[in-house]
Amino acid sequence: MTATDSAAVTEVFDVLIATFPGRPTDQAVDELRQDVLDRMETADPRGVVLDISAVTTLDSFFARVISETASMVELMGGAAIVVGMRPSVAITAAELGFGLESVETARSTDHALSMLGISVEATDDDTSDPDDGVIDRSSPTSSPGGRQ
């Protein structure tokens, strides 16, 4: 369970991918924001993908941290794109009255990467599952705590 509680920032091509855990504490969310901003400085990427596909509950606090993180990344000269919002989360967020209006969104990490100008060579057959596609997200599950 520890691996799902903490967030992971990995670097793919010239982009940081911040994967939010499904059920983070407020503190874990804060730490992820800090981690993203620190890595913005050290890795100097062209942008950050904020992956919320594991997130099943997006409350106003979490939504605010995501918007703020996105605007901070932009202030630092990078682009920020939120990907993977679940339908039930999108419905609830819209009803709650925060639609993350100012935040750029994409349906998947692949789309986000191409929005950031990164073209990925397709291997022969990548039509099926986006999770199984050409981009290796250097899954944090395979090596929890591997690189910090």
Binding site: T25, D59, S60, G97
Partner: protein, 148 residues
């Protein structure tokens, strides 16, 4: 003394309680625990995925408010039944300082620490019934219901 928000969507239907449970909320971990328990119960009652998300998001907003403003509080959940309807009732009870201007909070004019108004007002939208009672002496009690 007691200020009571009326009327339209108050908790006025008689309901039978089938089972119930309580969770004490005085830390961030407790907020997660309350969310998790609400999710399990809501899934057992067979709410749709979107309704489960609405419920858990509401729990997150209200338990966070409780923890933030009163430090310590209790969430009680009740599986309820009224005629052929079944649903979930949640009561958030604290002995904190109370809310001065409930009507204002419900109109989300207040946002003292960046979110109480929106959290409460938003939660009201996610639920089918909502009632709030607050006094400086007895703290705040918020009762919400969601019917399946």
């Amino acid at each position: 003394m007691s200020e009571r928000a009326d009327a339209a969507d108050a908790i006025d239907t008689e309901a039978t309680v089938l089972r119930s449970g309580t969770i004490r909320v005085r830390s961030e971990d407790d907020i997660l625990r309350a969310r998790q328990e609400a999710r399990e119960i809501a899934e057992e009652i067979e709410f749709s995925t979107t309704d489960v998300t609405r419920i858990v998001t509401g729990v997150s907003e209200l338990t966070r408010n409780m923890h933030l403003y009163a430090e310590d509080g209790i969430m009680e959940w009740r599986e309820i039944e009224a005629g052929r309807d079944s649903g979930l009732e949640l009561v958030f009870d604290d002995n904190g300082p109370g809310i001065d201007d409930i009507e204002g909070v419900l109109r989300a004019e207040h946002s003292t620490s960046g979110g109480m108004g929106r959290g409460i007002q938003g939660t009201k939208k996610l639920m089918d019934a909502f009632e709030i009672v607050s006094t400086p002496d007895d703290g705040t009690t918020i009762t919400v219901r969601k019917w399946r």
